[in-house]
């Protein structure tokens, strides 16, 4: 599987990671090598095999749907991590911009 520079740009866009132009070719080469290696999975006959989605065998793990209030110290510890804030509110960049 060959990954092109256009593929790298598309993936980087989906993943929201800015990639410098001079790095795109290197990523394309590395990802192509990795996916070529992964392509060996196609030789395994899995026509009658189910996927593994989990290994514990646990099913329908449920809990009471109750809100637990955080104390003031916990609230402060969370709010202290905000990169930008206005009192106890998180300030986020403008979402409906034209760009």
């Amino acid at each position: 599987m060959a990954i092109s520079i256009q593929d790298v740009e598309h993936i980087a866009d989906l993943a929201r990671i800015h990639i410098e132009d001079d790095q795109k070719e290197q990523y394309a080469t590395q990802l192509s090598n990795i996916f070529s290696y992964i392509d060996q999975l196609q030789e395994v006959d899995t026509s009658s095999v189910e996927e593994t989605c989990q290994v514990t065998g646990l099913e329908d793990v449920v809990r009471e749907d109750v809100a637990k209030d955080a104390d003031e110290a916990q609230k402060k510890a969370i709010c202290d991590q905000f990169p930008q804030k206005s009192e106890n509110l998180l300030v986020v960049p403008e979402i409906f911009s034209k760009k």
Binding site: I17, F35, V44, T56, L58, R63, Q81, P83, L90
Partner: protein, 474 residues
């Protein structure tokens, strides 16, 4: 030389008042100060807190209230959150992150009175097999500082091997505890998936991540496992099965057990002949101790790395989407919300994290989901079935932990695929969710540690520890 003690030795000395926890903690802090510039095992050292906790522990010991870990200093991989203590995960996107919460296993350890020394260097969010993907510099192998310590829990393994702490708590997704433990010559245990809580661990691949101990002896690993195992309401994937007496299991005679030698582990991945010979010597010991040795086949082993590098990056790309520079961590200066995301992530993640996010994003993207993710999950079923078949006729499997000993710093960084193949012996057990331990098994002619891996069936930690301890103490 207090810092060289094991958990059991330290417990005895503390209980007999031969030394205090403050003295023991000072010995470890002194060792860290002396060695951290060179080894780089710790990102954050919590010196003042450690001395405070040690003083409190001495008070508890004086009152006769000591429990198993009271007053014993330990370190924590930086990808595991400790409340109120900077936890970067090895990436600058969380350079200033102070978690408001704490991993359940860390709370369990601290409730026992253990003394926190600090947070240990690792490949960013567990992405790596050499600890060269940390944004806080490579860790060096204390046995030979021109070599890598293994990864991703390289700082945690190096710190134990270099006696900078009595034990470490680390995380293993595809070998991140066992592989560095093997390369540094210490003991590292990955539990069955679901045995220990993952709450508070920065997620890499949610269906594989586990938390476990890195220690100086197998009995110490058993002590820690007994404390940290068990169901946690905050992790819905933990199992309710009762936690066995692992320390007692270590003492059990191993005669009568059947040990499987999976032939694929010795034919794939170019195993260093010195390592094959070392493992063979240990297998002979097992025979002498009354075990039956049986060659077994796990035919899908050769696909494990390919499966791993689809399943893990896929889950990983989804998990790391939370790090967007908006709610916590580093926020890049940008005009738009899109640029805030893409620049924060570009600046705050190292190359390898970006590469894995891109692999996962591609594998999950429209048109490729069935060909990659679904296919990998099906081959994962074949790998699990191999283990189930093997464990129908043997009690445990013995393999090398890694096909080669610690390699040179910078030797494999140019080719990510070659680095991924370092996981060939450790990733299959991870995909199957079964427990495994790496114990030191002598040195190569170059003087580098060799790791021996014991793999057990699901929830077969007792058997793994029993065999591991018998080989370790011989």
């Amino acid at each position: 030389m207090l810092h060289t003690l094991t958990i059991q030795e330290a417990r005895k000395g503390l209980d007999n008042r031969t030394f205090s926890s403050v003295e023991l903690t000072q010995a470890c802090l002194g060792r860290i100060t002396e060695r951290n510039d060179e080894i780089n095992a710790f990102i954050t050292v919590t010196k003042e807190l450690a001395l405070e906790e040690a003083k409190y522990a001495d008070g508890q010991i004086a009152k006769g209230k000591a429990t198993q870990l009271t007053g014993i200093p330990f370190g924590v991989k930086d990808a595991i959150c400790v409340k109120g203590i900077r936890s970067t995960g090895g990436a600058t996107i969380l350079d200033n992150y102070i978690p408001p919460h704490e991993a359940t296993v860390i709370t369990k350890i601290r409730q026992q009175g253990a003394v926190l020394l600090g947070k240990q260097n690792c490949d960013s969010f567990g992405h790596g097999a050499s600890n060269e993907n940390s944004m806080y510099g490579s860790v060096k192998n204390p046995k030979n500082t021109t070599k890598v310590p293994g990864g991703s829990s390289g700082g945690s393994a190096a710190a134990v091997a270099d006696n900078q702490c009595i034990f470490s708590i680390a995380e293993d997704t595809g070998g991140s505890i066992r592989q560095p433990a093997g390369m540094c010559g210490v003991v590292g245990m990955r539990p069955s998936y679901g045995r220990n809580s993952r709450y508070g661990c920065m997620p890499l691949a949610s269906s594989l991540d586990t938390i476990g101990p890195i220690t100086k002896t197998v009995e110490d690993a058993a002590i820690i496992m007994e404390i940290i195992a068990g169901k946690d309401e905050r992790d819905a994937t933990t199992v309710a099965d009762p936690v066995p007496d692992y320390t007692e299991a270590c003492q059990k005679d191993i005669s009568g057990l059947t040990i499987g030698i999976p032939k694929e582990y010795f034919t794939l991945g170019g195993v260093d002949p010195e390592i094959t010979e070392a493992i063979a010597r240990y297998v002979t010991q097992l025979e002498k101790k009354g075990c039956t040795i049986k060659e077994v086949s796990l035919p899908h082993t050769k696909y494990a790395v390919a499966v791993y590098y689809i399943v893990v990056p896929s889950e990983d790309s989804a998990n790391l989407a939370r790090l967007d520079g908006i709610r916590y961590g580093m926020q890049a200066k940008a005009e738009t919300v899109y640029d805030t995301y893409s620049k924060s992530r570009s600046q705050g993640f190292p190359e390898e994290v970006k590469r894995r996010i891109m692999i996962g994003t591609y594998a999950l993207s429209a048109g490729y989901f069935d060909a990659y993710y679904k296919k990998a999950q099906k081959v994962r079923t074949c790998i699990r079935q191999d283990f189930t078949n093997a464990f129908s006729s043997v009690d445990a499997l013995i393999t090398p932990t890694s096909p080669f000993a610690a390699f040179g710093l910078g030797q494999k960084t140019a080719d990510p695929l070659r680095m991924y193949l370092a996981d060939v012996m450790v990733s299959p057990a991870s995909l199957a969710g079964v427990p495994a331990i790496s114990i030191p098994a002598g040195n190569t002619s170059e003087g580098l540690p060799i790791g021996l891996q014991v793999i057990g069936p699901r929830l077969g930690e007792s058997t793994v520890l029993q065999i591991g301890n018998s080989l370790f103490t011989q």
